[in-house]
């Protein structure tokens, strides 16, 4: 089961992960974007963590909402509304839950991804974060059906996200800034897919 504290630990760890990958994500973005994705994610999760510390949230829903608002307010660009919407919808999916079981975790990610797709209108293989999130969700659903626990479920999601992330390399971008590059976007890994992979991997490392 995933408790409020597990969610807080996740955000806490995500802040460290994005700080550590700030340069890596920015370098990926400099190849096909505007060289700020790592800076954006670092800023967003640093704020999210600080807000959560300033006003400890009553429950999971409140925690995720706080993260959403922090990302929306401080990230900007494409990633701000996308991840902001992800957490806003995820929060709604957890309303009134003190703990999440495996099905709730799937519901959380499913709602989040639906928000990303509604906001960004990207389809699979547009070379965006959807290319990591979507296979991850599929893997979770499969694992849930197979009766796996949260840990295994998130581990297969992480593997699927990593594959999806790597699969963005040969793709030509059709959404976001990278799409202006046309064919020149081919051969580079999408920064948003990478930050999404890290998000799922971090959950897999912490939750069980």
């Amino acid at each position: 089961m995933v408790s409020r504290d597990d969610v807080l630990a996740w955000i806490d760890e995500l802040q460290k992960v994005y700080a550590a990958n700030r340069q890596y994500l920015t370098d990926l973005d400099s190849a096909i974007g505007d060289a700020d994705h790592g800076i954006n994610m670092d800023r967003g999760f640093t704020t999210a963590k600080a807000e959560l510390e300033k006003t400890p949230p009553a429950d999971i829903n409140a925690a995720l909402k706080t993260v959403a608002m922090a990302l929306i307010r401080t990230v900007g660009g494409a990633a701000g509304p996308l991840y902001g919407t992800f957490f806003m919808r995820a929060a709604a999916a957890c309303a009134n839950k003190q703990e999440l079981d495996a099905a709730d975790v799937v519901a959380l990610f499913e709602a989040g991804l639906a928000g990303v797709i509604q906001r960004g209108k990207a389809e699979l293989n547009d070379k965006t974060m959807v290319d990591a999130l979507s296979p991850a969700l599929e893997a979770m659903k499969q694992a849930l059906q197979n009766g796996h626990g949260i840990k295994e479920m998130l581990q297969s999601a992480t593997e699927a996200a990593e594959t999806g992330m790597k699969n963005t390399i040969p793709l030509k971008a059709r959404k976001g800034r990278a799409s202006y590059l046309g064919d020149r976007s081919i051969g580079h890994q999408d920064p948003g897919a990478t930050s999404s992979y890290l998000m799922i991997k971090t959950a897999a490392d912490l939750w069980s």
Binding site: I72, G76, G80, G84, R119, R177, Y180
Partner: protein, 333 residues
């Protein structure tokens, strides 16, 4: 990096403080969240117009806030979309009860952040319409991509919609006029040098001493083609053909033309470019009815220029000629 700044992270804030100090008669600047509003906002009964985008394009948008143009501008960090809280606060600050138009340049980040802001405002009962400007002919348009970038036509749309709002048009009418401007406006830009984002500290792209980039975006995004530098005449013909053939503009058309500097190109060159554009359009039977020559939508200190043409009928010309009083654009007042 050589800039007249203090710390890179303070550029936007300190520059806004300069705007506040210089133009207290015209605008008020709010910090945290950052936005610039007309000194007399909200104007009761008038449609409010809010625009915004990354900083580094000055005078756009803050320089266009004032009577007859924008009610508010939301500046993001340099070349970074502002966030929904800025737009929400700005929208509330200018809402005079007749609804608010968001004029958005077509970049994924800008579009999505404005969309969230519009949802937040609508949730609070403010009527919001959004128009996305996507006029850059350098980018291939397609339903399956992010589409064309929003560039120079934004300036013309803000002026014209501002006039419509000022004379009392309702929200739907102002938004329709904005869509009409977008439908009839086309732009293209080119660069001789790169710009340097203060936080990045180094030029956005490398370019040889004899090269230019045609079809560049206003954030230093690569353009259609990198080529050897050509004469002003050849450059204008190249960009002019791309623009004219796209709408297409036809013999007998009247246009509002803008020859816009990217920030680092001196006025003596912009007038020379205007001369070439005037000749070029004459050759096509197209008449320049009104024009702007200068720095209006820039990319920091990039050298280069862009050309915008807006096919204009009497309605648009009348709105263009209406009084405007902002830090960067002023006539009739």
């Amino acid at each position: 990096m050589k800039k007249l700044i203090n710390k890179p992270e303070d550029v936007v804030k300190e520059s806004l403080a300069g705007v506040a100090a210089a133009h207290a008669d015209l605008v008020k600047v709010h910090f945290d969240p950052n936005f610039i509003v007309r000194a007399d906002a909200p104007v009761q009964g008038k449609v409010g117009i809010v625009s915004g985008g990354g900083s580094g394009h000055e005078p756009m948008h803050g320089g266009f806030v004032g009577k007859g143009m924008l009610d508010a501008a939301c500046p993001g960090d340099v070349f970074t979309s502002p966030t929904p809280d800025q737009m929400e606060a700005a929208t509330k600050a200018v809402n005079g009860g007749a609804g608010v138009l968001h004029i958005v340049k077509n970049y994924t980040g800008d579009v999505m952040n404005f969309e969230m802001a519009a949802e937040l405002c609508q949730a609070e009962g403010i009527e919001v319409e959004s128009v996305v400007i996507d006029d850059d002919v350098a980018v291939q348009d397609s339903l399956y991509t992010a589409g064309r970038r929003g560039v120079g036509t934004t300036v013309l749309a803000e002026k014209i919609c501002g006039a419509a709002a000022e004379r009392g048009d309702d929200l739907k009418t102002v938004a329709d006029i904005c869509r009409k401007v977008n439908a009839n406006g086309r732009s293209m830009g080119m660069a001789l040098t790169s710009c340097t984002v203060p936080m990045a500290g180094k030029p956005t792209f490398d370019i040889g001493p004899d090269e230019m980039e045609i079809g560049i975006g206003i954030h230093g995004e690569p353009g259609r083609e990198r080529m050897k530098i050509k004469t002003a005449k050849e450059i204008v013909e190249m960009m002019g053909e791309a623009i004219v053939s796209d709408l297409p503009f036809k013999s007998g058309d009247q246009v509002i033309a803008m020859v816009n500097g990217m920030g680092g190109t001196p006025l003596i060159e912009l007038y020379l470019v205007y001369n070439e554009l005037n000749q070029f359009l004459k050759g096509k039977g197209i008449t320049i009815a009104r024009r702007l020559v200068g720095n209006y939508i820039t990319s920091l200190e990039m050298a280069g220029c862009s050309i915008t043409l807006l096919k204009a009928d009497d309605q648009l010309l009348e709105l263009w000629d209406a009084p405007v009083h902002t830090p960067a654009l002023r006539w009739g007042v």
